[in-house]
Point group: D2
Chain length 158, copies 4
Amino acid sequence: MPTGPTSPGAAGDEPAFVHRRTISWGDTDPARMAYTGRFSDFMLEAIEAWFRARLDTDWYRLNIDEGMGTPFVSIAMDFKSPVTPREPLDIAVRVARVGTSSLSFAVEALGAETRRLCFTGSATCVFVDGQRLKPIPIPDKYRERLARPGRADEPDPQ
Amino acid sequence: MPTGPTSPGAAGDEPAFVHRRTISWGDTDPARMAYTGRFSDFMLEAIEAWFRARLDTDWYRLNIDEGMGTPFVSIAMDFKSPVTPREPLDIAVRVARVGTSSLSFAVEALGAETRRLCFTGSATCVFVDGQRLKPIPIPDKYRERLARPGRADEPDPQ
Amino acid sequence: MPTGPTSPGAAGDEPAFVHRRTISWGDTDPARMAYTGRFSDFMLEAIEAWFRARLDTDWYRLNIDEGMGTPFVSIAMDFKSPVTPREPLDIAVRVARVGTSSLSFAVEALGAETRRLCFTGSATCVFVDGQRLKPIPIPDKYRERLARPGRADEPDPQ
Amino acid sequence: MPTGPTSPGAAGDEPAFVHRRTISWGDTDPARMAYTGRFSDFMLEAIEAWFRARLDTDWYRLNIDEGMGTPFVSIAMDFKSPVTPREPLDIAVRVARVGTSSLSFAVEALGAETRRLCFTGSATCVFVDGQRLKPIPIPDKYRERLARPGRADEPDPQ
């Protein structure tokens, strides 16, 4: 499955990470397109796949094994054209900004075959202490990985 | 159930429509709060309840019976404090702007008991022809209802 | 909202608890009816509402405050007629069997207006220790409530 | 991604079709495992992937392009061990019975790494005319494919 780095993207120097997402019947509504409420799931699934590929962790392991969290403080999405099960989405995830505690992502989703722009989005999360939910600096081991050009040593399992 | 108009809200002259939403176990994640991906559902459910209460229709009837749609072109949300099943959300919906074809909403969600601000959001939809998905003017019968001060003659069934 | 006890039901001596559920656009698929994958949510939401009304708790408080869980070991559903947003569902929940650690439910969902049978279901959960996930006897305070005829002193907040 | 036929399964002569499913943070609840309400989605996604691989169609195309549907008349699931994001699920789908109009599936989900049995399930759908929702015989072109040993000429895109 073509999840992994691609050629340098328009939004920055970092090669984008691309998460391919099959659109299923259950994602669609009687207007014969994916329901608006599903798109934040599409975006968040792609961002979590980015965590697995780029930071070698996921939100479950961060929470359970490392006692921290990355709650989102904002998301926004612009819907550009209908999404249907006729083709998967290629959801490109780029880091837009690295703060002391926060990570901001820029997301762009294209039809996997038509390359038609389907939605763009942004999302910001903050590293927090899992107990008190107070912001903490992004741990060094993750900050280091952010500095390196994107690699996806192991294919995303989905 | 306290779904209905309230006293005039901060965001405009229109009394806000308030949709109460129970938070269930299935909405929550191992961080013991509602999962980010659920919030667009919370917001959209509240906006659809507004359609039922204020326009006396819903997205299903608009689509199936009237051959039109109201796809969203954008949504955005800021998350202010954790949401848990310990109290329902009171999700206030106000019309922020009425265009020729578009309707923009401003949403504000408080804990039903603590009155703590949990999230704010905005969303814009466009009335379209159901066949060609081209924008159409907001039908007069709905535009008239938008001009009147909000009433909710019949309680929302949820 | 008519959530609460009704006259004695067909499935037992216990008056059924009824959870009313609005069907939203997001629940439906291009076949213009609620998507199969949504029905276990409908059933589980109704069973959790039963926990709130009959046992005065919910799965979140059981887990976080009392250190126990009630994972399901099985669910089954038969779909009898299409569910659409044209009417809410009245989902009746009855206790079918009380074991040492387990609770089995029988669920029957009717159209709130047409009284047409939409689905029937069953589900069994087991009280477990939250740490080791080992079965524990149903705590006395809950077992006592199971023995009493159903009451819903406080309306369900949804 | 290892979606495709495997060696002959225990439940019949047909080699099982296996759908791999990543478990995400959003699938899990505060008990640190996938929420019960998500499992019918897991099962249905796997069955729809089977339609794509074995019948070369999906529920969207059946509905929109061919004017027919395959609504489910029943589903049942037994939950055997907790599912977490620590490993994907390998969901094996087998045809348990082919009727005149109906197809019954037997589903078995294992942890992709531990090979631990996580859930078993069954589901029956019926081919119907898309307008009147009346049962129709399974179209010959699909019935033929059911008779052949399972092949997955094209990898599942998810």
